[in-house]
Symmetry: none
Subunit: 136 residues, 4 copies
């Protein structure tokens, strides 16, 4: 299994930052490893303060359940199977912006969480970070 070195994580973060600059939205960007433990975090200038915690929680949420954070959000709505799962694990964030990181064999080796814009923008920037992993 591929391991998320800091060198690789910095490149994923840079790819995410480049996308954030391209769309003109300052973002908070967090990456967690296989153990769901924080590996790197960057807050771009003028990004929301409240998104520090949210970006980290999105990354952890995605790795906790090995699916993008927004997928869990569909299941945590009132009346749905995972209603209020957000109360677990010291707080989850289940809307889009958390994306799993997969190595070339498809094994999940971590996750990236992005917060600072609309959930579509957050997901777009997180995906740009995750895509950058493919070049390794």
């Amino acid at each position: 299994m591929m391991s998320l070195t800091l060198e690789i994580v910095e490149k994923l973060s840079s790819a995410a930052k480049a996308k954030a600059k391209e769309i003109g939205v300052p973002m908070n960007i967090a990456v967690v490893d296989e153990g769901a433990n924080l590996k790197a975090f960057h807050r771009m200038d003028n990004a929301w303060l409240g998104s520090i915690d949210i970006s980290i929680k999105k990354a952890k949420t995605a790795r906790f359940f090995d699916m993008n954070s927004g997928e869990i959000g569909k299941l945590s709505q009132p009346g749905q199977p995972l209603y209020n799962i957000e109360h677990s694990n010291g707080g989850l964030i289940t809307f889009p912006g958390g994306v799993v990181l997969k190595d070339e064999s498809g094994t999940i080796i971590g996750a990236i969480g992005v917060s600072g814009g609309t959930v579509d923008q957050d997901h777009e920037v997180a995906t740009a970070g995750a895509e950058a992993l493919k070049s390794y």
Copy 2:
């Protein structure tokens, strides 16, 4: 960028208190600075005890995302993009009563949070506090 001195914050709080007296509802009034750290808090006589924490969380929530707390609440409803965002940052309050504080150039330099009445009353009192900033 203008800095929120205690002298200015006291005047914003007084303006909010004056509005609260005018409408006859005792309020909890909190002000946070640029870094979302508490600068001043006042609980008017007979104001709800549970609103101590709510007023502080409303102020922090507004500064965390640079928008009035009620705007976030519209987006955090079931089925909406930010559902259950309240689980982040040690607890958010996303109904009205948290209002951003802007200096003359439009830069957000903090926020005021008010709790003790209906959300409309809370927002009215917070706005009165925020408006007082314009005289500086």
Copy 3:
């Protein structure tokens, strides 16, 4: 029993602020009422950010046990009867700077907590606030 109105609390806070200015140390000043609930808080310009929480905890600690915070600290040392009592109540602060507020009959009606300088300075400023109650 005398009740701590916001009007009175503001005057205690002002007396504490005046003493802080006199000794040249910016302070965080918190006052809690009979129920150990926050009534007012002021952070003077350039006062330590970490002292926001400490000043509030000192005030609560003093009212929780009806004695000045430093008295509890003597008993919470290793080998003493209240060793590590700081783990209770969401966190206590048991060094000086929390002072009980007594009405003219000697009944404790709240407490003031001050943080921002040495513990001696904190206690001096808190005492100045508490003394101001005597004029009511």
Copy 4:
């Protein structure tokens, strides 16, 4: 006052990482800004997982009280003036490794926290990061 941009913070982190490599100890490195809010975090490969939280808390502790974390630790020992101050602010870390960041005028604009080795090593790496600020 100088502002800690992400560009500057990345360079401080890189200087700290270079020192950590030089002494052969993988480190966790956190930087907070003026408001004690996280700006960047890096975990070097094979650095302790438990040091993620410690490095962040060291940085916050240093900014909370505008002094290096180890200075507070001297005062928080049993029998010393700030005994058990660690119970405040959601948990402080008061041994060395948190170092304040000062701009050219001496104003404190944030702090860097390092954890992963002995406290002397942590302090040495944090200091290397802080020193790099002087070139801006």
